[in-house]
């Protein structure tokens, strides 16, 4: 279907926010628009934002659920700072979101939802359509509910059921406005609701009614088109961080030639990884939904002892509970990957919102000297690579490893250029298969803590191997033999050995990923500032620095994937610049580590609102830091 009677204007990008009640299906609408735009070839980024309550009282501010998507004809890095278009399904959705919409933005309202009762539920004292709230915006009032009901009449669906299709009306309308193809959504409706023909028909009719309303109603004078983006050649899919993580776990099992084992307990926003993995049993993946967080990691540790590639997935509260077992894994020196989808804390905090405040927890959150390597994902697709890298380190060094993601990456989606499977690294490691130590009397024995001199890793001897029977535990053990030892000098030796093993991984990871166009061949830089981050701030930092460079500011950036150990050149990198700024969604955790490690004046720029940084915020923050530098 194409628009014939009204002009189509090419635009290079648009940011649309769908907002409604949490029962209105806004996440589904957003997902669908995302898939169509991805298939169309746009670059895109999404930001779902929904309440922790499954069904907060309908029509209230607490129940507002929103989904923001940015589509573009060029390479973009964030879901957009502010929407250009707000679709508001009720007064509460309008009230909760209108402040983010800059003046001259477009508001599309479901006018049927605007009545006195709805204002009261949304704690509004007046009709926001006439009280000045919407002054300066392009407002389109569309009676979505009644048009949906009308469209669904022939299906025989009861009005209450038919009304639930109004999100498809909205999707149809926006699909027309942005010249999206309709076929794939219609196919998807048939597939998704095939078992309930009446629902499928209602959704189909509502979707087409919305599309046709755009085309025929005299409300909209033209449609827009965002052309496909010029992305590097390849095969693309659209992927969220949690799906990328789950697929990365499966891939790591294949690359290591080991069965995958997940011990996990449901928790927002990590549960989707458990859901996704449990679908793929034909890969030999075992998923155990444990009785609690503690059992999840302990079952995983048992599976690691038994010779499998073991994972546990959780969010912050679960990390609190798992801490003791992480310590046991450090002592047992077994490979184990702990995936933390960070959310707002402390305590229950903001379960559905993002934060990156678990870094120091991952780094230090255990008793005793208990070093654990840390890898962090920077984008949704990068979750796939990050978990494979976490597995590589865990398997090679026989150590637990933290992989950090967050709520923003977990649920946000982006196009991903699929890697070629043959280009992925080989993660296989040998199991111990015989004696590795000669006793003074010449006897050949197996010592579970005899180490590889290069990696300091101990052998991985799995049950079922004759002659390698051994006992390991959390009590300090003698270096080599692994027997219980309370010897003071042995303990100091073992503490230092475990620290040296983790520190030594620095030799085995890439140098710091620095983006500095001002770096000369002599290794000196003329950049005025280094903006360094980790995790999901990558998009916003990179976008902000592009804008500043375009304005002539000399901004270098660096982004860390490895947080423990740091890349070996990191001290030299942060020491190279007159200013170092560290934007983080916490109160300054990486900045603290950098200051402690390198005695550098790393300045923290923090945000803890449960929402990612916008590029605009960072542009202002970097600018402010630069003007301090200018004043010097």
């Amino acid at each position: 279907m194409t628009t014939t009677d009204r002009p189509v204007e090419d635009i290079d990008q648009v940011v649309i926010r769908f907002a409604g009640d949490s029962g209105d299906g806004m996440q589904l609408t957003g997902d669908r628009f995302t898939s169509v735009s991805a298939a169309f070839g746009n670059d895109l980024a999404t930001l779902p934002d929904y309440p922790a309550e499954i069904r907060a009282p309908a029509g209230t501010l607490a129940g507002v659920s929103a989904f923001q998507i940015r589509i573009s004809d060029h390479d973009i890095l964030t879901p957009g700072d502010n929407p250009n278009v707000l679709v508001a399904m009720n007064p509460a959705a309008l009230k909760a979101n209108i402040a983010d919409l800059p003046k001259a933005g477009t508001v599309i309202l479901n006018s049927d939802a605007f009545d006195e009762r709805a204002y009261a539920k949304a704690s509004l004292t007046a009709d926001p359509r006439i009280d000045g709230t919407l002054d300066g915006y392009h407002v389109y009032e569309v009676p979505m509910t009644s048009l949906t009901l009308k469209a669904c009449e022939p299906t025989g669906a009861k009005p209450r059921d038919a009304e639930r299709s109004k999100n498809f009306f909205a999707l149809g309308l926006i699909s027309w406005m942005y010249t999206r193809p309709t076929e794939s959504t219609l196919e998807w409706i048939n597939k998704r609701f095939g078992s309930r023909p009446m629902v499928a028909e209602a959704n189909r009719r509502s979707f087409l009614a919305g599309y046709n309303f755009g085309e025929t109603a005299e409300l909209f004078d033209h449609a827009y088109e965002v052309q496909p983006a010029h992305l590097p050649p390849g095969t693309y899919t659209n992927i969220s961080g949690n799906t990328a993580l789950a697929w990365g776990m499966i891939a790591a099992g294949q690359l290591a030639n080991l069965p995958v084992f997940l011990g996990s307990y449901p928790i927002t926003p990590a549960s989707d990884i458990l859901h996704e993995l449990s679908k793929h049993k034909n890969f030999g993946v075992r998923t155990l939904q444990a009785e609690d967080e503690i059992a999840g990691i302990n079952a995983a540790l048992g599976a690691a002892f038994a010779g499998q590639l073991a994972f546990t997935t959780t969010s912050g509260p679960g990390i609190d509970l798992k801490a003791e077992t992480v310590g046991l894994a450090v002592s047992l020196e077994l490979p184990l990957v702990i995936i933390d989808i960070q959310r707002g804390g402390p305590s229950t905090g903001l379960p559905t919102k993002t934060e990156q405040a678990d870094l120091l927890h991952a780094m230090y959150g255990r008793h005793g000297e208990c070093p654990v390597p840390i890898v962090a994902a920077r984008t949704a697709p990068h979750c796939f690579d990050a978990v494979i890298e976490g597995c590589r380190i865990a398997l090679k060094y026989r150590t637990p490893v933290f992989v950090l993601s967050d709520g923003y990456l977990a649920n946000g989606a982006e196009p991903w250029r699929l890697p070629k499977v043959e280009d992925l690294p080989d993660l296989s490691v040998p199991f111990a298969d015989g004696p590795n130590h000669t006793m003074p009397d010449g006897a050949e024995v197996f010592w579970p803590y005899e180490r590889d001199p290069q990696t300091l890793a101990r052998p991985w001897a799995v049950p079922g191997t004759p002659g390698l029977e051994h006992r390991i535990g959390g009590i300090e053990k003698a270096d080599g033999s692994g027997n219980i030892s309370y010897d003071p000098m042995n303990h100091e030796h073992m503490v230092r050995l475990r620290a040296a093993k983790v520190a030594g991984i620095a030799k085995d990871i890439p140098p710091t990923d620095v983006d500095d166009p001002f770096l000369g061949p002599d290794g000196a830089s003329t950049a005025e500032i280094l903006v360094i981050g980790w995790g999901s701030t990558w998009g916003a930092i990179t976008a902000a620095s592009r804008v500043l460079r375009a304005r002539g500011r000399k901004v270098a950036t660096a982004h860390l994937v490895h947080l423990n150990p740091f890349p070996s050149d990191l001290g030299a990198v942060v020491g190279r610049y007159p200013q170092v700024l560290v934007p983080e969604m916490n109160l300054g955790q990486l900045s603290r580590l950098l200051r402690a490690e390198f005695l550098v004046d790393a300045q923290s720029y923090s945000k803890v609102q449960g929402l990612p940084f916008t590029a605009g915020e960072l542009e202002v923050a970097i600018d402010a830091a630069l003007s301090v530098g200018d004043a010097r």
Binding site: G41, W247, I250, K281, F283, D292, A295, N298, G302, V421
Partner: protein, 337 residues
């Protein structure tokens, strides 16, 4: 289970060179000996055997077994053992725990391992005291127990471990004690033969912090009149007394002479409803009344590890082995030239 190619072993083959560090006179020694004497008889291989423990005196056990072993952290042994057994159904996995480790800090893992029916043999050494931390009351200590942490007597109602296990849907539940090696070996043998989670409570004397806790029922002179042996298919009797079911459904201990041999309850360990086994577990409120020992319940139910394995195999049959390239493309793809 029996593999004819399994090498013939003796007790010493299952023992390690580690010095056994329990207090002299501890009941744990006799349990260790019973298990080390039993294993050569079970037709299993050392390399396929894994002992997993938590923290506490009993949890040192794996260090003395020449098998694979994990001495883990407090209470978590059933969870770790679950991971091992689910990952590797070919292994013979044992859990060694105590009343504090298994029923207090690890109570949650204990009940869930039982209801899942993971293929584990769980031996719980019950001495009704915390030994390793030097004498605090445990979740099986009697009300009024005076210890370092309860100078005025404990006000906690204790668990009855057999009742707890039965309530947790356990398929095999038994009790034995550290003074009767033959009974111990036979009970543990039965537990090991059972497919699924097998639970054995072993009354064990802590001669340092709770000496004589079981004296009223295990003393040489009283044992015959205080232990009620449960034997499948046999009337439940001990000495000149026996167990009958009253018309109101309650169990009562009475003199056999008074009621006649035929009135005695016949033990049926395979009875599917766990109610009668539960009633038997309630005959004694503590080790000062006539106490049943032996197998309370032994019923068949599919094991968790087998069912997990079954789902993997049927998924592979249905979908074929997983193929990574296909997985990555499964969400729909598009080409950029």
């Amino acid at each position: 289970m029996t593999d004819t190619t399994v090498p013939i072993t003796q007790k010493k083959d299952w023992s390690t060179d580690q010095e056994v560090r329990w207090c002299p006179g501890c009941g744990d020694y006799s349990i260790l000996t019973a298990v080390q004497m039993l294993l050569p008889d079970l037709g299993v291989r050392r390399e396929n055997t894994v002992f997993v423990s938590g923290i506490g005196c009993s949890s040192r056990f794996p260090y003395y077994m020449n098998t694979y072993g994990v001495h883990s952290i407090h209470g978590r042994a059933p969870a770790i053992a679950t991971g091992i057994a689910v990952a590797r159904p070919d292994l013979d996995v044992w859990v060694i725990t105590g009343d504090g480790d298994g029923l207090s800090i690890g109570g949650n893992h204990f009940i869930h391992a039982l209801r899942r029916n993971v293929n584990l043999t769980i031996l719980l050494f019950n001495n009704q005291i915390y030994g390793l931390t030097k004498g605090q009351y445990s979740p099986t200590s009697e009300v009024g127990k005076v210890t370092k942490s309860t100078p005025f007597g404990s006000v906690d109602t204790p668990f009855n471990p057999i009742s707890l296990a039965l309530g947790a849907e356990a398929t095999f539940v038994a009790r034995t004690h550290d003074l009767d090696r033959k009974h111990m070996m036979e009970t543990i043998r039965r537990a090991h033969e059972h497919r699924g989670a097998a639970f054995v409570e072993i009354y064990q004397n802590c001669n340092v912090f709770n000496d004589g806790a079981f004296e009223e029922i295990l003393g040489k002179e009283v044992r015959g009149s205080m232990l009620i042996p449960l034997v499948d298919g046999q009337p439940i009797r001990f000495g000149d007394r026996g167990v009958v079911m009253q018309p109101d459904g309650r169990l009562r201990i009475c003199a056999v002479d008074e009621v006649g041999e035929d009135a005695l309850l016949v033990h049926d360990e395979k009875r599917e409803p766990a109610g009668l086994a539960f009633q038997l577990s309630r005959l004694a409120s503590g080790p000062h009344e006539p106490t049943p020992v032996g197998v309370f319940r032994a019923v068949e139910r599919p094991t968790y590890d087998e069912m997990v394995q079954g789902q993997l195999l049927s998924a592979q049959e249905r979908q074929g082995p997983g193929e990574l390239t296909a997985l990555l493309a499964s969400g729909g793809t598009w080409e950029v030239e």
